[in-house]
Amino acid sequence: MKHINKQLIFIGAFIGVIALFSCKKTWLDVNTDPNRVTDATVTAELIFPAAANEVGQAAVGSTFLQEWVGYWAPNGGFVPQQNVISYNIDFTFADGLFQNRYNILFDLHQAEVKAKASGDLDLAAASIVLSAKIYQEVVDLFGDVPYSQAFQTGKYTTPVYDPAESIYDSLQIRLDTAINILQNNAPSGAFSKADIINHGDVGKWIKFANTLKLRLLIRQSEVSGFNPATEIAKIQANGGVLGAGESISVNPGYSNDVNKQNPFYAAHGWTPTGVQSDQATDANAYIINILSSTNDPRIGRFFFPGGFDNSNGFVGNVFGDPLNTLAPANQSSYFGPALNGELDANGVGTGYNKDQFIFPSYESLFLYAEAVARGWIPGDANDALKAAITESFVWSGVPDAVNAAAAYIAANPNIATLKSGNSILANAKIIAFQKYIANTGIDPQESFFDQNRLHFLTDNSYISTLSTKISDKLPYRLLYAQSEYTTNGKNTPKEVAGDEFTKKLFWEP
């Protein structure tokens, strides 16, 4: 029996081991992530700087738009992208762009929600202002897009597409909400630190919100029966739009290292080792011709002279023409000091640590000038236009900018001053053309929208000269993203290639 007992003890111990582990439930509690920040631990103040930087990255104009509106062109060193020079785009063409913008919008959304929850209300308002800017641009590029059901995780896995017009209306209301919050809440220390755009200056955030409200209104200017009076009154009452010297820009601390450079400089300036980042693109002959024929001093700010020793002068490439592009690269004009900083001793730009523009001050002044010219805001439209042009000269760093601008305006009365006998549309086109010049290389998107709104470019030679191009005019908008057809097919409006030339946005006349 003694022997048996020993064995029973053994069995007992065995079962004991099993029981011990089954009872010790905490042994299995090892599933807390030691590697990543989770939804529970992240804060609005941690999200906002990344989102703000993303908004800055998104403000670097898309190369295809730079080319379509006549600012830049393939230089012949590389095979030009066939879909860009032929306008023959497909559903994957803008997929990356679409996804990028919604990723930014989601980060801004999360920042807003988490800031509201933690009581950092100004940070929530700033997130709303930035998201209004991006949302408008997404609508202007694609038309109807998901909005009311977007980002409601768990509730809507296939958000519906809201009408573009209703999104515009909602953005006005959201901007009002943001302004209201900013007016009534002093910035927290946490917000001032996280705000790598305005460093807690709520007054500037309010002006930025007003400017975005005005941009929404101006975009709808050619919609028949459109009345902006109520919104204009609010803008005026709440401190007006961004004025001279009040650019919106972002800088988390750019430096000359991989992934750390100013985003524009990283994309179109020089790599940290001093190689041109954008080997395939240079100036477009179209804008070079406009700038040089008007003796515009900004030509040397928007572009560097071409050639290895800058001996070629300002030269551009003819868009879409393989016979008239200059090969190899470096023969034509690269992107100048207003964008990339001055050249150092090695012939490399110094703009790697510049602030990244999000909304340049002169653009606000052009919007203001158009509002005056349309009679929405009282004032002298010519003065407003002059102020806007002058601000562009200042912004782009023309020496003695005020006098240079005055001289430029005096020398080019046909394109730089409004005529009292002109129709509102004719004067709006003059303003748009000046805005177009001011935006060279900076905001091709705005020029693309203005062209589709006002058709102010009368000389059509910015259109591709490629013989196999499929259109003689720019598309009205872009095709929807392929990923949306894959994942949200039932809601994504059905389109076929070619619709981008026939189906207009609601604000396009």
Binding site: N35, V37, N83, T92, T157, T158, Q279
Partner: protein, 1059 residues
């Protein structure tokens, strides 16, 4: 837990029944080679008193003083013996009825006779496994096991393969089978590191039912490997194999046109010759003397005939790879020691991978106590070209991988002459191509070195508590240390090249370094009680009850520097600027997961021809929320050996063996990475900027309430043997219902997350497996015979539901495309009502009535459809393997043929080849305008057949247009059907008596071996091996990448000497 305790108590009680006899005799039953015969039936002659030997042939019987014993075992001739004293040893002679005598190692090392099992399995012995002298086991298994699908997804030196048994059970989770080596769960990756020579036997348990006791990992089947343990007679075996690898399948390339990229076009639209292009859209070869490359600094320019005389340089660029394998093993009493060394030199010049392994297995029995242990150390050193570094050092370059770089060289360019990097035209700055780098420079300067140290150990202790109960404790651990360092040399160009050539390639760049250290450990602790007992005569019970704990952890630290300041000194600290620290999940992590299980199984057997077994297991998994953590799953299987039960069959000369079997089971599986229950944030590139941190939401939103996936399996089988088992047939039908699938569901970016993780789908998976053996098919004289074994598997599946019935994209569309303009969309997708998976591809816009492509009435060009085409399937429906073996005396000849079909594949190389003008398809119309075949155009509101509208440009513009060609995935898509000659082996064994009477050398075997000698594919496949896939992990299939090497064949010789 309760269930198991009850079961346990029942088993304990049953053990106390015993009957009295006069004396106790113990003994062992062995076969004529000295190996134990497990489960032999031992009866006292002329009485009903009997017992059964255990798995090691040992038995104990109480019998009359003067009785004799009869020993019988299926597959052996019966024998009798009269014990003298208390012990007896018996040798049984095999009667060569192979079918029923196979011993199968099942869960927890329990040995079973195949005939008792109610589920399908295939056991392969060492001889079959090593016949083709494969460098690793996964290659050796190809074509030999029904239901097993092994896809070799690349031809590099790392032997990447995907293994599936019976299709798939998880749409997005892991579908690879569990590997158990000597009772220790081991990551499947080790399958390629275990030398085939070390394997005593390998069993493939195909069914979820067979595997219930192994736990969640076994839901995809189990590969059980038993390594050699030594024997009574000491043997020393030496084997040496040398094999050559050569390119066997190169994509079809055009050989008529030289370089040109649309820079020069004459007034008629003809493209001119550009001597420094990477695209081959230039004029036709005309034998004139033309420049190659630009005018160099000294004013000279390479002038060569403009013809296709160097067409084959691109194939010859790839080396003849050499694989040298040497192994030495010593088997003695209670131990086995082996050393193996395999050195693989790849097709890509300088790619090399060397594996050295050392194994020591041992065991000892002292009375009721026994111990066995094994230790395996594997060292792997590799040095290959760093294709990733290639991408990071030359961002924006048209370079893809080495394969594309090589293909981008036009037929008039003497690629091989640029091998010398100091030669005038081979040196970096003078390379002819403005848009590509000399591939020899890449190979010489961008290197990835890896060292992998693996230590696997296991120790098992057994104690025989009672004759009917054994206690076992088993501990095993697998330790892996991985070191990778990528050294990317700086680019140093001449001043002339820096000033005059394309800056993407021809500018100075600092060197780069990336270093990664990975450690993983998997500790398993098993404890169980097991035993068997004859409850009454002819009726026995067998049980296992126990539990296990496992703990897996891994840690990774990775850091890189992109700006090394001292050329060729590759250390992260010798850099300027910030270090690059890549993020989790790829790098820099610390992961732990734990699993606790309790299990039990009980089986009853009547006369060993009627068997039934029940199994239950409960798991507690740390990766789920507390309320979902515990899950239970049961299984049962039964077998009936009618040929043993019915004397009429037993005595039949025609039908020798007949067995019916069936099994049902449920298996649970948590297909989830640890820490997957919460949405996460990470710092985007560039952040932190000094003191400014910033976080962005990652792309996945999990449903926190995730539950395990469950697989319900039903299977039935029949095994037949005819004419003394000269003909054997084994057929299985299985049906699996896979529910609660944990899926990464692609969702609209406008939801905030591009991926949702949820229990989101179910599908079923079913098929038939057939194994036919004809042994021998023909007898040749006295010592010769021709045998043939054929296996065939049919597998199909159907998605029955997905979340909201929305199709689920499983993978694809990135990671395998290099440079084409307008990337085609290609996915693997699960659609309700269709098989998992189909392909989702971009296609031309077609007339829905006729399916013909719609072209523009003016330009003649097709356009891309906004809808993606869903078609084809990724997994083969039929896999057929045939192994004929001819043996005449000491001469042996065997082949393994394999067919896979019913599936399709997409070639990622296709669009790149079209982009660069390499592909043969780009010259189908002689680069002239053509009428798009089978097309229609809109005329007066109706689609009419297009017979005369030619495309605007049948050359560069057509084949580079995303909408017209490169963006249309269906242009690069086709049948993946293939017949392969997987293995060929011709061997001759010289008996030892030729040498010194066999005293020193027992025997020598010399063989000629070949692998993948022939690959037959349909004409439509002009791209490459349809098994290739861009990733060796995940569930994507049929997505070949532009970054892979061409398919290869191996052939060589081998010598084995036994001392």
């Amino acid at each position: 837990m309760k269930r198991i305790l009850v079961l346990f108590t029942v088993l304990m009680l049953s053990g106390f029944w015993a009957s009295a006899q006069n004396r106790v005799v113990t003994g062992i039953v062995k076969d004529d080679t000295g190996s134990p015969v497990p489960f032999a039936t031992v009866t006292e002659t002329g009485t009903k008193n009997g017992t059964t030997a255990d798995a090691n042939g040992n038995f104990t019987i109480k019998m009359k003083e003067n009785g004799t014993l009869t020993f019988s075992a299926t597959g052996f001739n019966a024998a009798t013996a009269t014990p003298e004293g208390k012990t007896v040893a018996v040798t049984l002679k095999r009667n060569n009825l192979e079918l029923s005598t196979v011993i199968v190692t099942t869960a927890l090392g329990q040995q079973r006779e195949a005939k008792e099992l109610g589920y399908a399995q295939t056991t392969i012995n060492n001889k079959t496994l090593t016949a083709g002298k494969s460098v690793n086991i996964q290659q050796a298994l190809n074509g030999k096991v029904s239901g097993l699908n092994i896809s070799t997804v690349n031809s590099g030196v790392f032997e990447n393969a995907k293994i599936n048994i019976r299709g798939i059970r998880s749409l997005t989770g892991d579908n690879s089978p569990m590997l158990v080596v000597d009772g220790a769960p081991t990551p499947l990756g080790y399958l390629s590191t275990i030398p085939p020579d070390d394997v005593q036997s390998l069993t493939v348990l195909k069914s979820g039912a067979s595997a219930a006791i192994y736990g969640p990992q076994a839901v995809n089947g189990v590969i059980v490997i038993t390594t050699k343990r030594g024997g009574k007679t000491p043997t020393v075996t030496f084997n040496s194999t040398v094999q050559a690898t050569k390119v066997s399948f190169f994509p079809k390339m055009q050989k008529e046109f030289g370089d040109g990229g649309g820079e020069i076009v004459d007034q008629y639209g003809n493209y001119g010759y550009v001597p420094y292009e990477n695209q081959q859209y230039g004029p036709k070869f005309d034998n004139s003397i033309q420049p190659v490359g630009p005018v160099l600094e000294d004013g000279s320019q390479q002038m060569l005939p403009y013809n296709n005389s160097h067409f084959k340089d691109r194939i010859k660029f790839f080396n003849t790879g050499i694989t040298v394998q040497n192994s030495l093993s010593v088997a003695g009493e209670d131990f086995y020691l082996s050393v193996e060394d395999a050195k693989i030199k790849g097709l890509v010049p300088d790619d090399v991978n060397r594996r050295t392994s050392l194994r020591f297995n041992g065991g000892k029995t002292i009375g009721k106590f026994s111990v066995n242990y094994g230790l395996n150390y594997i060292l792997q050193n590799s040095n290959v070209v760093d294709e990733n570094g290639f991408q990071t050092e030359f961002p924006g370059a048209y370079d893809g991988g080495i394969f594309l770089l090589v293909e981008q060289t036009a037929s008039n360019v003497p690629l091989l002459s640029y091998k010398n990097l100091n030669s005038k035209y081979g040196q970096y700055s003078n390379y002819y191509n403005e848009y590509a780098i000399n591939p020899y420079w890449v190979i010489a300067n961008l290197r990835s070195k890896g060292r992998n140290d693996n230590l696997l150990g296991n120790i098992g202790l057994n104690y025989q508590l009672f004759p009917w109960m054994k206690a076992t404790v088993k501990v095993s651990n697998e330790l892996s240390f991985d070191n990778t360092q990528n050294n990317d040399a700086p680019v140093i160009v001449s001043d002339w090249a820096a000033a005059n050539r394309n800056a993407v390639q021809y500018s100075n760049k600092a060197g780069q370094v990336f270093t990664d250290q990975f450690y993983s450990s998997r500790l398993n602790f098993d404890y169980f009680l097991s035993g068997d007992h004859n409850i009454v005569n002819d009726f026995s019970v067998r049980y296992v009850v126990g539990g296990s704990l496992s703990d897996s952890r891994s840690k990774d630290v990775a850091v890189g520097g992109n700006n090394l300041v001292v050329p060729y000194l590759f250390n992260v600290s010798v850099r300027s600027g910030d270090a690059s620290v890549p993020l989790y999940p790829g790098d820099n992590f610390n992961i732990e997961s734990r699993l606790y299980s309790a299990y039990g199984t009980v089986g009853f057997s009547y006369k060993r021809w009627a068997n039934i077994e029940f199994t239950g297991r409960n798991d507690w998994d740390s990766r789920l929320l507390k309320q979902n953590r515990s899950f239970f799953y049961p299984a049962a299987n039964a077998s009936l050996v009618l040929s043993d039960a019915i004397p009429a069959i037993q005595n039949s000369d025609f039908l020798t063996y007949l067995k019916l079997r069936g099994a049902v089971s449920k298996s649970g599986n948590v297909n989830l990475n640890p820490y997957s229950l919460s949405a996460t944030y990470s710092q985007p590139a560039g952040f932190p900027f000094g003191s400014t941190a910033g976080f962005t939401a990652n792309g996945t939103i999990p449903s926190a309430n995730l539950k395990p996936e469950f697989v319900n399996t039903t299977e039935a089988g029949i095994e037949l043997g005819f004419l003394k088992n000269r003909i054997s047939l084994d057929a299985t039908y299985y049906y699996q219902n896979n529910t609660n699938q944990i899926l990464n569901v692609s969702q609209s970016v406008t939801t905030g997350y591009t991926t949702g993780l949820a229990n989101a789908a179910s599908f079923n998976n079913y098929g038939v497996e057939l194994d036919l053996g004809l042994t021998p098919l023909v007898k040749i004289g006295k010592r010769g015979h021709l045998d043939i074994k054929i296996n065939a598997s049919y597998n199909n599946n159907k998605v029955t539901s997905t979340l909201g019935n929305v199709p689920v994209v499983i993978g694809g569309n990135n990671g395998f495309l290099a440079q084409a303009t307008g990337y085609p969309t290609v996915n693997n997708i699960a659609v309700v009502g269709k098989p998992a998976f189909e392909f989702q591809l971009s296609d031309y816009l077609r007339d829905s009535a006729t399916g013909k492509v719609i072209v523009d009435p003016v330009t003649g060009n097709p356009t891309q459809s906004p809808n993606l085409l869903i078609t084809g399937r990724t997994l083969p429906t039929w896999i057929v393997g045939a192994t004929p073996t001819l043996t005449i005396g000491n001469f042996g000849f065997s082949m393994t043929w394999e067919y896979k079909g019913g599936n399709d594949f997409y070639s990622g190389l296709g669009p790149d080849e079209a982009f660069a003008g390499i592909g043969a398809a780009t010259t189908l119309y002689g680069r002239k305008r053509f009428v798009f075949p089978n097309s229609v155009y809109l005329k007066d509101g109706k689609y009419v057949d297009n017979t005369n509208i030619q495309v605007a440009d049948g050359n560069y513009a057509f084949f580079n247009g995303a909408n017209t060609y490169t963006g249309i995935a269906t242009n690069f898509f086709g049948s993946a059907a293939a017949w392969r000659l997987r293995e060929l082996d011709i061997s001759y064994t010289i008996p030892g008596k030729v040498f010194s009477n066999g005293k020193f050398i027992k025997q020598i075997t010399v063989s000629l071996v070949g692998k993948n000698l022939f690959l037959f594919v349909p004409k439509s496949n002009i791209w490459g091996d349809p098994e290739f896939n861009y990733s060796a992990t995940g569930n994507t299939f049929g997505l070949a990448s532009g970054f892979q090497s061409p398919a290869s064949r191996l052939f060589g010789g081998s010598i084995t000497v036994q001392f």
